[in-house]
Every structure is written in C-alpha cells, then in structure tokens.
C-alpha cells in the first residue's frame, strides 16, 4: 500500500539538527555541471547506514541500497564497492578521516544512520566533499512511517543530487502508466502508478476497459486518462489516493482523448472528435461546457501547456503531415515550430520551460527528441522501431517514454533517457508497460 497521505509534509520535513556544520564547502570542487555533459561518473562512497537500534538493521541496509541506486541510476555517479574501503563508519557522529576516503578516490562520502521507534523511521545523513575535506551542506534528518522507507531514501538521494549538481532532484516522484498484458490484437490495459524506479506498483483500474495515456495533475493527487468504459473513448479524472473517479462535464456525444492539466491544476485541455474532425478544447473549473480552442478541418491534438500557462504546444496535420505548433492558451493564431524531415507528434513542454520534447517519425524509425520552444536546436535522443510519448522528470533533466518492439510478439516497455541523450535505461515494470507520465516531486 502506498502511503502518500500518511506522510504529511510536517512528518517528512527535513529538519536541520544539532550536528549541523558550517556550509563553507558549497562552492568547492565537488560539483557536477550537468549541462557540460558528464562522461566520467563521479565516484562516491556510501557505507551502509548505521543501524542505531536493534530493529533498524535491515531497514538501514535497504535504505542505503535505494539511495545508492538512485544516484548511480542517473549515470552521473559511480558507487565505490565497500570491499575497497580502508575504514568503516560505525557511528554517525564520528569524525571523518578524509585521508581514508581519498585513498580510494572517493570524491563524495555519504554517511547516514537509521533509527526506528514503533512505526516511525528516522534517517539522518551527511554529505562530505572528500578532496576539500569539508561537509557539503548541513546534516539532515527525515522521519516517516516504516512503510514510507523508500520515500525517505529517495529524499536523501534527492538532497545529495541537488547539492552536487545544483539542480533539484527527481527521485521522490511517481509515474502513472498503462500496464499491458496479452498479444497485440488482444491487449489488456490497466492504469497503474508506481515509484519513479518501478517500485510499489499499484493498479488503478481493472482490465475490463481499454485505457490510454494517463496524465498527472501538477500536484500529483489526480490523473486524467482516456477510457473506453462506455464503449467510446472518453476522458476521466481519478483521485489517485482514494482510487475514486471524478466525473468531468465533457459532452458524451463526442469522443474525447489526449487530456492534460493546465499548470493551475484545474483547467483541462483535451481533444474531441466531432464528425470525424479532431480539434482542441479547454474546460475551465466550474464551467459546464468546454470552449473550442482550434477550429480547422485538419487534425489538432496532443496539447501541452507551457509551465507559465500562457501557451499551448500541440500537433496538427494542417500542412499535410503532423507537425508541432504553438498557440496562445486562449486559442488564436498558431505558429509552426517543427521544420525538420519527418512527422512530429506528442509535444510536451519541459517543466523548466526551456525545451519541448516530442516523438518524431522519419524513414521508418521513431525517435524521442527535444527542441527549443521556438523549434531551434532540435536534437534526437533515441532511435528504435517505435519510441513514443515522452514525459519529463520533475526537474526537466530526464525523459521517460514508451518503446515497443516490432512483429507479432512485439511488446511495450518504459525507458528513460537523459536530456543529453546519455544513460538510456529500461525502467523495471512487472508487466509490459506504456504511456508513462511523471508526477511532480512529492512534497
């Protein structure tokens, strides 16, 4: 069971504690500039966190493992195996002998301790810049329920990542997606949600109705998705915590799909097909009917808001092939931004506002790519038989997408890739999976 609600903000608040230290080393050499393109991962030592009571041993090992996996999973860090260590950390408060960590070429040292008391778990950690011989930031302590131990670990990793890269983290986040079973012509699809790393999968629908393309609300509490529950594609909204559907005032006579939230979390933009023609509509909070934002005989679909809510990027075949366009959030004149070879679709505005990710189909291959919001500096990050539907990590540094293999036995998997194009990784899901959508960083 997922415990998002039980970990209230207050319970997880990162508390600066008595062992705080001067933060003078923050501008020291222990720093990864992600934009420079890291080729050599930064080596770190993470001795298994100290178990401070008899019941904490297993948890301390598990939390250490998840923190290390988060960091190494980025491709930016490399964990030094404990066999190489020349000293141990047996007490959280003991003084660090930097020479011992320099000797194994650890640039960062992460130490931690875990305490349990009933259902409560407390994790403390410290980060050291070994070559500057100084702590990097203050020690932090976090508390949560025993069930939330993975979130505590992700929070530690987010803090470490953030201090070293200067970027916000993305590990304490979730992904809503479609879990798939069966062959292509009889595929069963269920809505599911999981931690960003594939842990804690929870199913939100059964397999009775075809479901497609879920999207998280900006606060991570709800998802929009398309379901064939009525026999026809219609958009639905669900409260993730209670797994309760919330109806939307969308006209039942038209087919609706491709929904997405505006940054306000209440306004919804989506596509509706009426008499065979698909246009983009907006439903504002409290409104009983949607407003039409595009009006053309061509296909207009896959809308996505800019983070400031002022513009919408979408896909249209008004030029003859599917291309990307940007229009004001109230509708109006759209400007084409994609001009390369091939067909473009599923544009998604980066949470940082600087880039638009998309699917590109060219010469029989599919790619995930990014371009600046004016269409310049297009870069393709992946290539395969079928890659589609990118979603941004909350910090705008990583993309997750669907990769489907070809042929009669073809099936879908989720992959992630750094916005630099490096570190293409399979996301571990229990079944075939498609249509990922990343949540914001959890509170």
């Amino acid at each position: 069971m997922i415990t998002i609600r039980t970990i209230a903000l207050a319970a997880l608040a990162a508390l600066a504690t008595g062992f705080s230290v001067p933060a003078t080393a923050q501008d020291g050499p222990l720093r990864i500039e992600i934009t420079e393109g890291v080729v050599e991962p930064l080596p770190f030592a993470l001795p298994t966190f100290v178990a401070e009571d008899g019941g904490a041993g297993e948890l301390a090992a598990d939390i250490s493992q998840v923190v290390a996996a988060d960091l190494t999973g980025t491709g930016l860090f490399r964990r030094i195996p404990s066999e190489a260590f020349v000293s141990e950390v047996t007490e959280f408060t003991s003084t660090v002998t930097y020479a011992n960590w320099k000797a194994i070429n650890a640039q960062a040292l992460i130490t931690g301790a875990v305490t349990t008391e009933g259902d409560t778990v407390t994790v403390k950690f410290r980060l050291f810049d070994v070559f500057s011989e100084a702590p990097l930031g203050e020690g932090l302590q976090m508390r949560g329920s025993r069930e939330s131990w993975r979130r505590l670990a992700h929070k530690v990793a987010d803090a470490v990542y953030s201090r070293i890269t200067g970027e916000s983290g993305y590990f304490d986040s979730r992904v809503v997606f479609v879990s798939e079973q069966g062959p292509k012509d009889q595929r069963q699809k269920r809505l599911a949600v999981m931690d960003y790393d594939g842990a804690n999968v929870q199913y939100l629908t059964d397999g009775r109705s075809l479901v497609l393309a879920p999207r998280f609300s900006p606060s991570g509490d709800r998802v929009l998705y398309t379901s064939y529950e009525s026999g026809f594609p219609q958009i639905y909204q669900m409260d993730v915590g209670s797994v309760t559907p919330r109806p939307l005032p969308v006209p039942a006579e038209s087919m609706t799909f491709s929904p997405r939230y505006a940054p306000d979390g209440e306004t919804i933009v989506f596509s509706a097909a009426t008499n065979g023609n698909t246009d983009i509509y907006r439903l504002r909070p409290g409104a009983s009917t949607p407003e039409q934002l595009t009006d053309a005989p061509s296909i207009e679909t896959a809308p996505s808001y800019s983070p400031d809510g002022n513009r919408i990027v979408f896909e249209s075949d008004r030029s003859g092939t599917p291309q990307l366009y940007v229009m004001p959030a109230n509708g109006g004149e759209a400007r084409r931004i994609s001009f390369g070879q091939g067909r473009y679709g599923t544009p998604v505005w980066s949470p940082r506002g600087d880039l638009i990710a998309f699917t590109k189909q060219n010469q029989g291959r599919f790619h995930i790519g990014v371009m600046r919001t004016d269409g310049s500096e297009e870069r393709l990050l992946t290539a395969s038989f079928l890659d589609e539907g990118p979603t941004w990590a909350p910090n705008g540094r990583v993309l997750m997408f669907t990769r489907e293999s070809s042929g009669a036995g073809g099936s879908s998997s989720l992959y992630s890739v750094d916005v630099s194009g490096r570190n293409l990784s399979l996301v571990d899901t229990p079944e075939a999976a498609s249509d990922p959508a990343w949540s914001p960083l959890l509170p």
Binding site: G276, N277, I299, A302
Partner: protein, 177 residues
C-alpha cells in the same frame, strides 16, 4: 483452436475480396475491453459453410463485407471501398432493425494520439458515405480505436494495410452509449 485460425486465413487469401476478420471469430474474441466490436456474432461453426441467411449478421460480415481499407494516413475512400459501402447501405436499407457502430482503425506506424484522431476521420468517412447512400444517421455511430485493435499483428505492410480500416459492426436494436 490455433489450427482453425490458420486454416481460416488461408481460406481468406483464396476467397480474396470478401476476406473477413479471422480475429473476430478466433479464440478470445469478445475478451476484455473489446468494446463494440465484440457482439458475439459468428461462432466458428458458422463460418465458411455457405447458404447464410441473407438477413443475418454473418451474411453482412461474410458476403457483403464489413470493412473497407485505407491508404497510409488517408481517410479518402477508394473506388473499391465505395462499392463495398454501397452494398452495406443496401443491406442496411433491407434490414432496418439493425444499427451499426463504425470503427475507425490505424496501423501501428504513428503515435497513439494521432492515430486516435485518424481513426475518427476514417470512421466518419465511411459513415458519411453510408448516410449519403440513404442510411439514416440515427442508425449509425462512430468510434475510433486508433492503433489499439489491430487484426493483423506483423510489422510489415501486408499487415498494416489490413489494419488501416473502417469496420461496420452491426447489431440488432438501438445504439447504446
């Protein structure tokens, strides 16, 4: 059951024009999430035995032909498609107790979202032709499946061209949904 399916495919190639959807009759047809396409018609025994009741759904599917195919990215009806739809319109006029849901489908070469819109266009294209042929619009409804319900699952053009289709799924009685 597997053997039956293969056998039917061969029959289909030999029979050419009125080639029907083996998947619809195969094991598991009408399984989870099949939606309006799964209405229980055409049990395996009723296929290929000739002498079908001309007012039966099986006759509509087998002899009239329940589907038309489209070129890549297109929703324009070919001459062959128009001929098929004209026959469907005649059949629907002779059998007024039936209503139809027209499913629009796409092949897998495209994004999920674009293909949903493309399927809607194809279904509407077939529907509009039937209406122009005199079928009351109130008896017809369209649905798009995009690339979600292929009938052929290979990743080459010989499968893709079968998947780019509009299928007229008839049912006795009123429309739902």
């Amino acid at each position: 059951m597997r053997g039956f399916k293969v056998g039917l495919s061969i029959l289909c190639v030999a029979g050419l024009a009125a080639c029907s959807d083996p998947g619809r009759f195969g094991p598991g047809a009408g399984g989870p999430g099949m939606g309006p396409g799964a209405n229980g018609f055409g049990q395996p025994g009723s296929v290929g035995q000739g002498a079908l009741d001309p007012s039966s759904a099986a006759y509509f599917e087998e002899t009239v032909g329940d589907r038309v195919l489209f070129a890549v990215d297109q929703s324009t009806l070919s001459d062959e498609a128009r001929g098929r739809l004209a026959q469907q319109a005649q059949w629907l006029s002779r059998n007024p107790e039936y209503t139809a849901v027209i499913e629009g489908h796409a092949d897998e070469q495209g994004t999920r979202e674009y293909n949903l819109a493309l399927g809607a266009r194809r279904a509407a294209s077939a529907r509009d032709f039937l209406v122009a042929q005199g079928v009351a619009g109130s008896r017809l409804r369209t649905v798009t499946y995009g690339k979600e319900r292929p009938i052929e699952i290979c990743s080459t053009e010989e499968c893709y061209n079968q998947n780019r289709r509009a299928v007229t799924v008839i049912a006795a009685g009123g429309l739902t949904g």
